[in-house]
Each structure stands twice: as structure tokens, then as C-alpha cells.
Symmetry: D2
């Protein structure tokens, strides 16, 4: 079983996570984590905080000479701005944030005690965990990518790109979008929104290549890999919708246009010529690419704040102003990669055992052979 | 902690569930469950199976004189057609179902062993569990409704209806749609698809009225009520997308148009005049109505079956033909009600304790007073 | 992941369980379950209830033609005496039972609503689940036995018997004790206690032969197989103590007398000549026999009831008299077998994957080879 | 839900833990944690490591101005000796430790990668977590103590001491034993064992005063508070047995001598004059003191090492020599306090809700009133 918890406040000492259940024998260099931490900070539309923090991970446990030993792995990313105990009270809850409900729930008279943890800075820890999950998946030839398909109403048109091409184009785009024209329009839209003290949301897509058929299950409601992925993706701050394959489009088409017919060739085994299902049927992976879309609402902290109420005086005010991004969809894609990687690494460990990478691989190869001969 | 597991095969002896963690002192009549079991079977476009089974629940444990006693509750709905051991082998996997991946995963040479459990008949058990969860929520003035907003490309236009009106109109519609005009078009579309041996999907919406502010949490990724609801809804067979509030629309609008401004009146406390967030901010309920959309793909068993492959001979064939619906979106809404009820009942028990209804209510009232004075 | 829940009241319709996570391809005949259900009912000192119920399992799901298919398995054992709704209220809590605390916790004014579920009749369901777990373990050459080592102060002297001999002698004893002399004294002690309206407890031992080295882990507190076994065994009604290997004796000896020295022979691999540790070191199985003792307190329902208080009038009374055993230690051993089997089956599935028996065996054999070459 | 994970290797950078689910509004000073960290290091018979490390906690998250805010709390205790990557390989597994099975399980050719995590130094993190759990319990008048009842065959005779007296005497004893005479003999026995290169185990007892009736449940096997406590206590390194109340003695007495009769007085409510049950009946707390014994085996690292085998050459050798204690029973009691505190804090949060201390107290007081009027 793979599990993790994160901790840390936005202006506390550090963002942390403990990841429990990784097999022994996996090489984990800080650098593979730091690459994703950097990718998480980029993107046109990010705020000043991104320039203040230059996140580098410290791994405090679970490795010997950069190799896992089966023990829990601890990730720590220091906050340079660790002034939590000196920062002033926040009394004006921001619409769209946990501010008001969080203060009510936990009986806190200073909203800072909410926003410090509710902040998307928490995702630093998840990205670190996800980088290790990706490293495990890579041992099995499983790759994960993300790209932005919409920002602020501008929708990308993605031609039929291969996985590699999609990655290489989107990673070069300032908004991580694989449509260069849309990319430019998105940047302009972001600049415009920034100028007007407003914010933008959008859509990103996750693609997982190389996952075997047979992860997840229909046998119990909470084992469906689709449901687990939705759980993970929807747990990302500001995500408001999740869909698979052709997504919402599936609602409007007839079955004969949606379901992916099944073919067989001796060399390839069973295969499909379409992948409308997004790599999952009946809560189980099919062996085709897993394709997930996530809808992100606009950033909830606005340059021109919305109407709110002072929680002490109860008088109408403008919402609090915290350092914030105008648009974080490109970064959210990186976070999406992390959380889907964690779910899939967990599913792989569950199916193939998880004490050592060597054992996992042996079991995996045995299964591949079983599938081949099925 | 509220938890449940279901069991049962489509043509086995029965569909069952054990629900663990309900407080003592809740009245549960079979009738409240049977009402939802009936609602689950209705809807224009359902297949013959629906006419064969007339589902009635038997509660085998957890009640004394129709009142809960804190013990696990067992639900059993008999299958009239319990011929699982005599039914012929299935060798032609149906695209869109768990058939192929399930057989590979579990190393089963007869797909019947997959489809019997992967079948949406499993939701009978979930609807039974959900009916009890609804009964608990009703004690706290929390109501749940569902309605269909799209089928086969026909989209409903829902005028600004109140909760009660929405329920009363949609419950009278043969497709559980609150737009009578769309309702007719949907029925026609279903008839058309049936004639052509095809199937349809669509979209349904869940609305929860009366949930207090403060369920769920941003403090750990797996505590967000939005993520938990997405997990539950995505675990429904054939659901391919989940969204909250204004849903996918949130991706395309600016923050100032999306976030719900905060107001205060002495009598009402904090309130909003819009509810674009769908009742959840930062993974916590706000006290406004919870609004969730679910996208359902078309039924995967088609009257005119798709291309497939015989899993023994590996020769191309047409997919297997099982009894099936043409469209099950109206029923899926009822299932959606059940799973969201279970999640919310669980969140209520977590927040207010769950040993007896009397204790829960006392704790709930104390919290309401705390919120009022916040 | 293997998990299960039980349900059912002592005089309700049935005792049930759902077991989720068993691999496909395991043969499960009702008979193997019924054998253990019968063994659970035997033993000198059992009460009248045992003669009323003749427990036979009905498997309601999860099998096709007596073979598992990966789906959850449902067990039902009917209660012949299913008069729960007609039985009179119980107002006099029995010391030693959940009666008083249960009524207070769940706010129940009739103790019957407590005792119906707190009753050890619940273990019928666990024994059924355990029989399937044993069947899985048997596929890997893992056997489980139990025997009674003490009843009412009479302690058995077990000479150095082999596993098979221990089983064959103890299974023939009316108190499941492998020391024939002690066996007789125990029976006499039971008769004596019965005559005096009193009850007896004792100690049973569980022995697991054939478990591989490497189940459980020291890497996180809740992964230790010793802790998990203690959890399971202590969850048996009336068990008050659990110990491993030489048990409490380990507290009084020096390390040099307790720890099992390590040897190696090419054919056998690593081995020990002693097994004071009871097959577990550092929370991991060593490959030696797992040996667990459980202390059972005397039955809490006495023929000559103890002092109690009427929960309505608050007047002193004698405790309620329910049908009960005088001594149930022999039966508790059978229940112990069940719960340790479930824990070990779960640990095997976790380590070797759990989709099909064929896959598990392939993975297991690969690991055995790895261990051989270590 | 209260949950925690620990991490860290004995000679790694630090020992850590994340504790998730503590209510907001609890004051937590580092000092209350450091007191227990110090108590954990004391005791006659501790090794040199204890003199090297002077453990002080750093809390990295979850507090603002020393008060909890509902967010996960991170504990870090630095290792002064953090030489893990430079320490030589260990090839000679120590009998009694996870060394051999751990290396086999995780496929590690250097036992250091096992012993670094399997080391009881991990309990530093648990003691830190436990100190916060104790602080929460203290808000409800629940106190926890531990004392040593046996070391190396010397058994204490504890006269009928009150809770406070027991604490004050045992805390002054160099072996945390409340019998001054036994205390001296234990010290002598430890000195003797040390001289002979041997080690000792023993027994400690945990006492919890002030827990309300109604924690835990008989309704499902894994909810019994006795089973949960056994799980937690047995997860402590080197613990080999757990028992409740009169412990193993209950096996040998008749029911009439064991079960605690029930009485009632208007002022006190229901009460007992004996507490043989150790505060738990039917898996639920009774309101009497919770009493738990734990058997600890002798330290497995011996000054005069036992026979072992070089895992590379397979030649017979003496087991590896790591810095170690001769006897750690007094410290184990402190660790026992921590783990039982965590279980009980979790049970309190489950029963009374856990968002803020104020809410918990309100709910608790309501329940106390309900119990009073029962």
C-alpha cells in the first residue's frame, strides 16, 4: 500500500510530506524532484511568491546513497518567507477560498490560520512525492505528461500529436499549451486579466502512456481506478471538474460512436484503434493511454477584490489581498501529473507487490507474459 | 466512521451490502428503501431486466423494530433470475465494458465471471445503503435531489426553479428532466436510438439542500469533500466526468464572474447571493446548496454490437449481447443521490459524532449555535 | 488488500460477512467452511444455544461453480432462533459484558439491543471468512492449528509434539487440548464450575506452519505483522491477552537465552534451531512457525449471576441470565485460527499481489527463488 | 480521524512524524514534548547512544503561536550522529532483530539499510506525537501513567497505591518501578547482565485515568478499543505480549472472581468496586481506569553476540555489535504512554468530533450529562 500525507503552512518553516510504501531499490536523485518543483513554479501569470521561493527539496529519510530502502521517505522544502507568527491577522474572507468556512469549522478568529494551510503552496509537497512516484513508474516504462487545453475561454486545438511531440511543444510554451497560436492568445488574455485585477482558470489534460491493462477493479466501488484518479485530481486546489477520455463529449454521442472496438493481432495482442474511453473501462485500465481532463476555476484572490464581510465587525469590506497568481493552470498540470503518478504507483504496487523494485519487475514481467498468452 | 461494501452478481442469488457506522436511534422502514429501488428502475429507455426484477429490500441485521441500534446494517435484494451457474460462457468482450480488461486481470477465461459483477445491477445495493444515509440526513434537514440535464445531445434548459419545484417536475418526467420540452425530445431520441440498436448517455445533476458549513477540510488532500464526492460519483458505472457548481463553465470565465461574494445579515448570518461554487470552497461546504454534475457515457451494450474478438479463438466477432438499457441516465441520477448521501452522512458523523441520533443532534445544535455567534 | 466486515444479531435473521479482495481461481466448497463452523460449536462446556443452532453457511456471492472470481464473497448463516423483535427487554447489565457501557454509548434503554450484537455468536461470520482465508493459505502450503493450553487453572504440559501430532491429539480432545491428562482435569473442572453456576476461561495457542519469511514490516508502526495479529486476536470476544513465542516468559529471561541464533545450510538456507521468537522478529515473519498465545477470560454470563443494577429503576438486582457456555476456550481457538488466517492471507496478498491464484503463485515462486539465492 | 506516520533512520538526518487530525485550539509547547523525550532516554541500563543524542523536538507545521489550527503537525528531532551514508555495511544479522528477514524481504545486501529503520530510535517520533495526544486528553481530565512491574525476573510488588502516588514513586525510581525494593534489585540485575554482555526484558503497565465510558465498540471487530490498544502497544519494538486488567490471571480464575459487579449511587452514577476488567468490557471503555500490561523481550543486541551467519559468505560468525541498551523497559513504558494516548485521543475525536477543542468540549459535556441522566 502506498500512502502519503503532506504538512506545512504557506509561511511556516517548510512544506513537508511523508511517503510510505515505496519499494526498496529505486534510485531517487534530488534533481528529478527539483525539476518538477521548478516546472510547478513556471507559467505565464504566476505571482510574486514564485519569484521569492526557489524550491529545492531536502530528503530527510528513506534513502541510502540516493536509493530507497523500503522505509518512509520524508520530503522537506523550506519556506524562505517563514513569518507565519508575525504576519497580521486576516479578517476579510476571500470568496472562492476556504477562508470563511474554514474559520467557522475550526472556530478560528483569524483567517490566516486557514489560508496558510489551504494555500496551493501545499502542492509543493505533492509534487515532490509525485516525482518519486514517476520514477517508480518509469522503471516500468510508464510516462506521464500534462498540457493546457484552455485558459480564460481560449481553447487549444491539438492536432494529432504523438506523446513526445505533445510534450516537447507544450513544455516550450509559456502556458504549457501544445497549440502555439492558442498559447499566444492565452498569454495575452492573462496579461489583460492581470491589468484588470482579475484572474483566469482553464483546463489541463493528463496523459499516461504505458500503463498495463488490469489496474483498478470493478469489484468494489472504491477500487475503480477512474474513481481513484478523480479523487486525487479533484483534491488539487481550485479543480472543479474531472473527466476521462472524450470527457463531456461522451454525454452527447451515441454508444456506437463512443466505445472503442476491440481488435487482435498476434504480435500486439488485443488493441484498439480509438481511445475514447481514455484508457479505462469498467474502472480498470485497458492498456491504452490514460487520458484525464481537469477543469480549474479562476484564482480566487483577485487584484481588485470582491465584496466580503469583516468577520469581527460584520461590516461589508473588500476581500483580503494576498500575494497571488493571475492564472495557475500550467502549474496545475504539473501537480496533476504528480497526483496521478501517485495513484498509479499505488495501483502498480498493489498489483505487483512492493517490497523491492527487482521483485516488482519480476512479477510485472510474469504478468506481461500471462497477458501475452491470454 | 461510516463505511460500506457491496456484493452480489447480476444473476447470482442476491445483491447485498453491509453498512457499518450508522448511529443508533434512526427509524428505517423498508418502504423508504423500496421507493428508491423503484425510482432506480424507472426511466424511459430501460431494458427488459427492469421488468423482470421488482426489487424489494430485506434488511437482515442492524435494526430492532425498524430502528437502528448502532450495529452494521445488512441489505439483501434477491435476484429473481439467479441462474449464474447455468448461464453460458461469454467469449466476446463488449467494448466500453470491463469485459476484456477484467478477464485479463483476473485470469478468467469466461467473461461472464467479469460482467456479472461489473454490471450496474450492483447499484441496487448502493441505492439501498443510500436510502438509509438519506434518512439520517433528513434528521438534520438535509435533502437530496437529482435531475437529468442532457441525454443524447438534447440539453435541458432549467429556468430558475426552486428545489421543490425542480423535484416535482423532474420526478414526473419519464426521463427525470425538469424541462418538459427537452423531456419529450429526449424520449424521442431514446426511441430512435433503440430502433437503431444504439445507446445514449447524458448528464445528471445532484443538488443537496441544507448541509451545514464546515463539512470536509483543506487540511489534508484526502479530506476535501469535493474530492470525496467526486470519488463516490465517479465510482458509479459509466460515469466519465464530475463537476461542481457552474462546472466546466468556470474554466472559461474570469474570477470576478465566478467567485461568490460574501454578505452578512444578523438573522441569516453569512450568506451569498450566487452559488457558482456549488456549495464548496476550498474543499469545505459553505452552507449553500451543493451542486454536482455527472457525465454518463452511453450504455456499452448495443443492440447492434460493435467489433470485438473471441478471447479463445482470437477471431474477429461481434460483441456479446446481454440484456441492456438504451439509456440509463435517469436511473443514474438516483444512484448519484445515494452515493452523495453516503458521503455526506459520513462527513456529518465525522463532524458530529455518530453513536446515537440524539447525541448527533445535540452536537449539531451546539455547532449551529457556534456558527450563529461566530 | 483483503478486508471484511461482519453483521448480524444473535437472534436476528442471520450472521453475515462480506469478504473483499480474495484472488480469482480459488476453489471454495461450502464443506470446508462448515467443518470449521462445526468445530466452533464443539467443546466440553458449551451451552444450549450450541445445540439449537446447527450452523451451515450459504455463500451468496463471489463464486461461480465453487470457484472465486475476484468479486466480494458473501457468507450467510441463518439463525434458527430469529426472535429478536419478540424477545423481552433486558434491564440488568451483566458484569464483564458490553451491556452497560454499550447501552450508555448508544443511548439504548434496552440492553438487548447491545447484547444481540456484542454476543460471541458474531464469530460464526468470522469463522466462515477465516475458512476461505485458510483455503488460500493452503495453496501456499501454509497450515494453521490451535490447541488449548489452560482452562480454569489447569495447565497442559505439551511435550515436544510435531505439528501433525499436536493437531491430531488436540482435535480428539473434548477441550481441544493436546495433553490427555490435563484434558480430563479440564473437563472435570468445567463440570464443577457448571454445577456451581460459575464459568471458566483459559489459554489457547495458535500455530502457523509454512509462512514465508518477509510478511509484515518494521517500516511503519501499523505494518508489523505481530501488531496486526495482536489486533485481530484481541478483537475476539473475551480475549484479554495476546503473546508471541515464549510469551510472557521472555520478560524474565536474559537475551542470550531468548534470541534464536542464526544458522545456514546450503539446502535449507538460513534456519534456526530454536523458535523462541514465535516466528516473528522486528515485525516480520522469519519463516519459522508463527506461535501466538491468547488469554481468554471466563464467560461473563454466569449461572449464578453477579450483582448488578436495573438501568431503569437503578435498584440493585442480579445480572440478566442469557443462554451461555460455561467455558468456550476450545471454540475460541477455532476463532483464533480464523482471524490469524485472515491477517496472513491479507499479508500474502499484499506481498504477492492478489488478482488470481495463478498470479500469486507465480510471484510467490519467484520470491522463494530470490530467497533461496539471497 | 486521527492518524500519523513516522519516518527517519537511526543515523539519518532526523526522526520525524506527521500527525493529522488534531482539533484546533490546543496549546502545544515544545516543552511538554521535550519532557517526554527526556523521560524516554532515561532509565538504568541505557546505552551510549542515549548520551550522544539530547533529543529536542522542532515543530515544523500545524501551530500558530503554539496553538493548533487544525492542520497536520510535523515533528522533527535531529540526529546528531547523522552518518548513515558513511557507516560501514552490516553483514552479520543479529538474532531477535528484523535484520535477516528485513534484508530478505526488501532484497537488501547490507543489513544497515534494515536496522537503521527497525531501530527503536523510531519511537522518538512516536513519543513526540504521543505528547500532543496527551495534551488533548488532559483537556478532558484524562491522565496516563506507566510503571515497570518486572525486569529480568525481578517482579515488583505494588501495594494499593493511588494514581498520583504510583506516578510519583515510579518517576523517581531509576527503573521507573513503584516498588523501591524491587527497584534496587532490578538495577543490580541490570548491572550484572551488562557485565556479562547480556540483556534484559521485563513488563510495564499503562494506566489511564479519567476516560469516559463509551469509547470503542463491539459492533465491528476492528472497532474494539482493546484490540486497537493491543495493536498500538504490540507495535512497539520488542513488545511480545499485551494484556488487560488482571491480565493472564483472568485465564485461571472463575467468572465469579473476575467480573466486576455493578453498583449505582445517585451522585456517582454506575460504578464498580473492583476493576479486574482493566476498564474495558466488550471492547468499550467502562469509565474505570484502563489498565494494560506489556511484555518486553530482552534487548536483541548483546555485548557478547550470539551465533549468526555472514549473509554474503554464508560462513558462521558472531552477530553484529551496534550501540545498544542492556535494558529498555523503563523507556518502553514512556513509549507505551504515547501510543495509548494516541489511540485514546483518536477514539475521543471519533466520538466527540474533532474540529476544535471548544467544540469537542461542548460535545463531551453534553455526553457527560446524557450519561449522568441515563
Amino acid at each position: 500500500m502506498l500512502r502519503y500525507m503532506t504538512s506545512g503552512e504557506s509561511h511556516g518553516k517548510a512544506m513537508l510530506a511523508i511517503l510510505d510504501g515505496m519499494p526498496a531499490g529505486l534510485r531517487v536523485e534530488d534533481s528529478i524532484i527539483n525539476v518538477d518543483l521548478s516546472r510547478r513554479m513556471l507559467g505565464h501569470g504566476r505571482g510574486k511568491r514564485m519569484r521569492i521561493e526557489a524550491d529545492k527539496v531536502r530528503i530527510l529519510s528513506g534513502l541510502r546513497k540516493s536509493v530507497t530502502i523500503g522505509s518512509p521517505i520524508t520530503f522537506m522544502v523550506n519556506n524562505i518567507d517563514d513569518t507565519i507568527d508575525r504576519l497580521p491577522a486576516v479578517l476579510h474572507p476571500r470568496p472562492g477560498h476556504a477562508d470563511l468556512s474554514g474559520a467557522i469549522k475550526y472556530d478560528l478568529k483569524d483567517i490566516r490560520s486557514v489560508l496558510e494551510r489551504a494555500s496551493a503552496r501545499e502542492t509543493v509537497a505533492r509534487v515532490a512525492v509525485g516525482a518519486v512516484a514517476k520514477a517508480l513508474l518509469a522503471e516500468f516504462g510508464i510516462d506521464i505528461a500534462s498540457h493546457v487545453t484552455a485558459i480564460g475561454g481560449i481553447e487549444a486545438e491539438i492536432k494529432d500529436l504523438g506523446f513526445k511531440q505533445l510534450v516537447s511543444i507544450s513544455e516550450r510554451s509559456p502556458v504549457r499549451c501544445a497549440d502555439p497560436d492558442a498559447s499566444k492568445l492565452m498569454c495575452a488574455e492573462i496579461d489583460d486579466a492581470m491589468e484588470e485585477g482579475d484572474s483566469l482558470g482553464g483546463i489541463f489534460e493528463l496523459i499516461v502512456r504505458g500503463a498495463p491493462a488490469g489496474l483498478g477493479s470493478y469489484t468494489q466501488w472504491d477500487k475503480r481506478i477512474s474513481a481513484r484518479i478523480a479523487f486525487a485530481v479533484m483534491s488539487i486546489q481550485a479543480v472543479r471538474g474531472v473527466s476521462f477520455g472524450t470527457g463531456i463529449g461522451a454525454a452527447h454521442l451515441r454508444g456506437s460512436m463512443v466505445h472503442d472496438e476491440i481488435f487482435y493481432e498476434k504480435k500486439r495482442g488485443f488493441y484498439r484503434t480509438t481511445n475514447n474511453a481514455g484508457g479505462i473501462e469498467g474502472g480498470i485500465t485497458t492498456g491504452e493511454a490514460i487520458v484525464v481532463q481537469a477543469v480549474m476555476k479562476p484564482i480566487a484572490t483577485l487584484g481588485l477584490p470582491l465584496a466580503s464581510v469583516n468577520i469581527r465587525t460584520k461590516r461589508p469590506v473588500r476581500a483580503a489581498l494576498e500575494r497571488a497568481d493571475v492564472c495557475a493552470v500550467p502549474a496545475a498540470g504539473v501537480i496533476g501529473e504528480a497526483v496521478i503518478a501517485i495513484e498509479l504507483a499505488g495501483a502498480m504496487i498493489e498489483k505487483f507487490g512492493g517490497d523491492s523494485v527487482r521483485e516488482m519487475k519480476r512479477n510485472y514481467n510474469g504478468y506481461k507474459e500471462q497477458v501475452r498468452k491470454f
